[in-house]
Symmetry: C2
Subunit: 163 residues, 2 copies
């Protein structure tokens, strides 16, 4: 709490004018980091285009969001266990839904003959692990555009064998 307060330029005790508890702060971070992707990223999966085109767009928005909110992403993962069971369930549900939608577009690509994997769920888990792994080592001086292009290639052309 003191660290958070320091970074905002106030004392630890003053945080309690804005949040009821530490858990509430962690929940706010974790909730934002899972709800925003569901509400704002997944729309690209409903736009026109082939599964490969739609997944490609999702990889872009996913990685760019992660690049901007790297620390919050790590916090929401690390502190998931510190949430109340109720709050944790909300976050986990958002994550599961996101995962499911990625799996669905992979499965659609397989049905359309664009992708060639035996197990769409496993491939979508791998794709998300690959993307989320970026948050462990990304630095501000990295070229995000190049990163996005490379990871689209790794996932779409690589893991999913498109084209």
């Amino acid at each position: 709490m003191r660290g958070i307060a320091d970074s905002v330029g106030i004392k630890g005790a003053s945080l309690y004018n804005h949040f009821g508890s530490k858990e509430e702060i962690l929940y706010a971070i974790a909730l934002t980091m899972t709800r925003v992707p569901v509400e704002e990223h997944l729309v690209v999966l409903d736009e026109p285009g082939s599964p490969a085109e739609r997944l490609t767009r999702l990889i872009g928005v996913h990685l760019r969001h992660l690049a901007v909110h790297r620390v919050e992403h790590l916090v929401s993962l690390r502190e998931l266990a510190a949430l109340t069971p109720e709050h944790r369930a909300v976050v986990v549900d958002y994550r599961k839904y996101y995962q499911r939608r990625v799996r669905d577009v992979v499965a659609a690509g397989v049905r359309a003959g664009e992708f060639h994997v035996a197990d769409p769920l496993r491939a979508s888990v791998a794709a998300l692990d690959l993307m989320n792994g970026v948050s462990w080592w990304l630095r501000d001086d990295h070229d995000v555009d190049g990163l996005v292009d490379t990871y689209i290639d790794y996932i779409v052309s690589g893991i999913l064998r498109h084209g």
Copy 2:
């Protein structure tokens, strides 16, 4: 500490007959989880065979080790920040060395015309992220043999474009 003691069937205070501090326990876990892969896995990179063959064997031993020591793997990642600077440096150095050796075999594969990636370092980071991501969701009832085959395919044929 009390949780660890419970799982061993003794009281928390009795742990101090075996370890001097909590940090010492965490260091023992983290050190084992980084030194063992360096000392025991990397030998497969020195055995005969093409880069693709040697990397394929490394993926196998890496994932099987991770499947057996899933919890320790997560602990050593999560508690890295809890180590003393000296201990953390040792662990980080082992990890960097492992990473470097994987990059080297990827680079060798590129030079040999087996792999087709623009940046061997980035590809090796992706490959390791992909493998290590498994520890977040692997369960005891998963088929590790099938997992290994799939991930070899994702990495070697997928990301690295072999064959």
